[in-house]
Symmetry: C2
Subunit: 500 residues, 2 copies
């Protein structure tokens, strides 16, 4: 059923001879299908088709683009168990997670469909003071989307970047994630079916395979590409950002590059509900085998006996959570090596860890602890360890706490666990944290990103490459649009929403 071919406009294409296979991490074997890497010719063709499609697609009425997005959602559902099985095969994640992520993906597509059914998202400005100038938002052109390893659906082929870009009227070329190229192909076929059924121009979507960096590099450097969406590692995102900046016409790159998501817990909160907090965080740290960009990797608490009790309990809870398979042997290898790198730093002590897993590619959760002074001195301790790992940093006084927060790199989220009686004194912490993050959470966990208008998924660098945008929620569309003004333009030529 899986053909392993690239989808270039409305054609399947396999011109090249370089191939690869995806991997089943649970069985520790390569999957059967042979995937063909896109060639330079296929990349160019996809970009040319996208550029041509843009001339038509940008003017497609919103109601038709909405129908296209809804049709994509329908076609994804129609893939049924094939999609879920393929997802599980390539990710090692449980079927329930596949279903949940499919629901989220479909929800996002339908949200953007609803957004563009009316034209309010264009922020039409009806009259200048002089009365002759009007303004609205228009799409910027073909977008290259790089899917995430950890969300084969919601942040990949038909994920938030693709949905928001298509909604605005931009063609999309996906560089499929090599770890789930089969799942990507299924979703790409759903998009193409939807495009056919709703009469979209050829080139509105293409899907290119690659297991290396060449295809992505060529894609970002192609002059027809007008912006890039990326979800993944700091190294990968920064490389694309740097590449885009070298173009004769530089283009915006929105890269969401992960976080350690600091959590500050007050002594009063620990006095009142240590067991509850320990449970909540043992779950959050190991959720999805810790493979979330909002995973809480840093817990900041005052040096105290109470803290020691909490840390011990959190360690115990964490150690009891069964190990589970990671997305890929490479991710498992990196998890192990990064975890060990941080654990081996001076003054870092092991609090607890799960039993050594008996299954292949399963991640052993680990909790370590260090002092605030060490964290301030050693930036290796600020590194993200992608997986079920967290580090407790014990600070000695509030002054040190603030310095720690101010020293942390930009983050997607920052969390405060506090009691009502803390609120009067917590302002400085809250203030400092806000400056480093895109989202502040109170008395909860950072994992779980609600798809809503009020969501910011992004944050100061390196959480994202441009803190002025969000990757989640309807405002994600703003990454792919620009304002245009019409001065003294006759009514008959004006876009309909600007008339009158």
């Amino acid at each position: 059923m899986i053909k392993g071919k690239n989808i270039v406009g409305y054609s399947e294409s396999a011109l090249g001879s370089t191939t690869f296979k995806t991997f089943n991490p649970k069985e520790n074997v390569a999957n059967d299908a042979i995937i063909f890497e896109a060639t330079a010719e296929e990349i160019d063709r996809a970009c040319n088709l996208a550029s041509k499609a843009f001339k038509i697609y940008r003017n497609t009425p919103g109601i038709k683009r909405a129908a296209f997005l809804n049709a994509i959602a329908d076609e994804i559902l129609a893939l049924g168990n094939n999609l879920l099985d393929c997802y599980v095969l390539e990710s090692g994640l449980p079927k329930g997670r596949a279903e949940g992520e499919r629901e989220r993906t479909i929800g996002q597509l339908r949200m953007f469909a609803k957004l563009v059914e009316t034209e309010d998202w264009r922020e039409p400005s009806h009259k200048s003071e002089g009365g002759s100038t009007k303004k609205m938002l228009i799409p910027i052109g073909p977008i290259a989307v790089f899917g995430a390893s950890n969300f084969p659906l919601a942040y990949s082929t038909a994920g938030g970047d693709t949905a928001s870009a298509l909604a605005a009227g931009n063609p999309v070329i996906v560089k499929s994630h090599p770890m789930h190229a089969q799942t990507g192909e299924l979703i790409a076929s759903a998009i193409v079916n939807a495009a056919h059924k709703t009469g979209m121009p050829e080139g509105v979507f293409s899907n290119l395979n690659s297991n290396g960096i060449e295809v992505g590099t060529q894609l970002v450097l192609n002059p027809n590409i007008k912006a890039v969406g990326f979800t993944g590692s700091l190294n990968g995102g920064r490389a694309l950002y740097d590449l885009a900046a070298t173009r004769e016409e530089p283009i915006p790159v929105f890269a969401e590059m992960g976080s350690i998501n600091p959590v500050v817990i007050t002594q009063k909160a620990l006095q009142t509900r240590t067991p509850e907090i320990a449970n909540m965080y043992a779950d959050s740290i190991t959720m999805g085998v810790g493979q979330f960009c909002t995973n809480p990797g840093l817990i900041i608490v005052l040096e105290s006996d109470l803290t020691n009790s909490f840390v011990e309990l959190l360690g115990e809870k964490l150690a009891k959570i069964p190990s589970f398979c990671m997305l890929h042997p490479n991710i498992h290898r990196e998890y192990t090596s990064n975890k060990n790198l941080l654990s081996s730093q001076e003054t870092v002590i092991l609090v607890n860890e799960a039993e050594p897993p008996t299954k292949t590619n399963a991640a052993q959760a680990r909790l370590v602890m260090t002092k605030g002074s060490s964290f301030l001195k050693n930036i290796t301790l600020h590194q993200e360890v992608f997986g079920p790992f967290s580090m407790v940093v014990q600070y000695k006084d509030e002054d040190q706490l603030i310095r720690i927060i101010e020293k942390i790199e930009g983050q997607l989220t920052g969390t405060i666990i506090a009691e009502k009686s803390d609120y009067a004194n917590i302002s400085p912490v809250f203030e400092a944290l806000q400056e480093r993050v895109g989202r502040v959470v109170f008395n909860g966990v950072p994992t779980g990103v609600e798809v809503c208008d009020a969501m910011t998924h992004g944050g100061p660098y390196p959480a994202s490459s441009d803190s002025r945008f969000t990757a989640v929620g309807p405002n994600a569309i703003r990454r792919w649009v620009r304002p245009i003004s019409y001065q003294n333009v006759p009514e008959i030529l004006l876009p309909e929403i600007l008339r009158g």
Copy 2:
């Protein structure tokens, strides 16, 4: 009266030994005042003060920031004739222009004051579906502003970039334009006076002098700087853009880098009103000695006898407009050399030019003409000639016209001069033009940028470095802000506008 010192926070500072003078282009002599270039120490100090000021300033109530902006406007007015005389001395522009630009500058300051008196600009999002997440826009941090040579007031020290950045709650460090450093000092002193009077924290504003690239380079690379605003040449803007991309923490650069502002004129329009169009464009091409980024440098018309008559008439009108002094001998020199470079290209013919000027640094207006096929082949013909110069390109058929428009680099504006009876057939031209510009003008001239909500001053690269933003109008504030989400944050800690 002019001290030539840098303004670093609330102190005047002249630690360095490198000095320069500004120039009186009309008299062709250097002005008296000695200007001290900022040293590395002064730059660092300004950036550190800005970073400290940000912690206070970002939380200053909107009504207080509005008072600050209004006070800047008042203080600028209070400079009276000193400012106008200094402006004329350093720019060679007439006093009437100085007055007009002062009015515009003050208008912009008051517009942003009004914008931030209420908190709607923050786009507060009151409730997520779950009800626990809220969102609003917050400032991103200290902004480096590089003033323009051609607008000593409206796009310089207290121009649109500074006003919008301060309005949002960001401290500003201006790298004063070396051609009008004295004017810059006067405006900077007005800003500092206003900051004092309205109780703003030290570091909310600094003004640094420099005649070379070192100060700007250090400023953009300083980790305390969080974004850059620039108005000027493509070379200058691109250099800053590239520099910012090399930072460990890359930052947004909004650079507005000029245009040739294509104008398409239909045959029917020429049939009906050749003299009117020729008058209008002779004025627009020479307005402000052609030293506007919206100057019409490219006029695209069908090859015909009618066009030849129009071109001849436009040339005659242009030749009659008296030559006038340019901003600086360097600008005059570049104008002459760029004008000659384009005029000497194969197939380019001289239509007409003004009498050789008798006064020093005065610009001789020139109109040249070429064929569509030449324009398509030779990108030298696409270059901006900053000054009272324009090129007529005669296209042979509509297909060639569309190819010409599609080949033009990104532009601030694109204009169509057409009759009502053209409207039914002009869609393809209108469509193609929209894709290349930030503002489409009908039956008018591109010069003159209304400061209003509906204005887009920006456009696809290289008109600006990021087409998703505008440099003029209230939305210019979006360049310097980012969204932040508050999830489950107690009412008492929430910003006031998000409560309830």
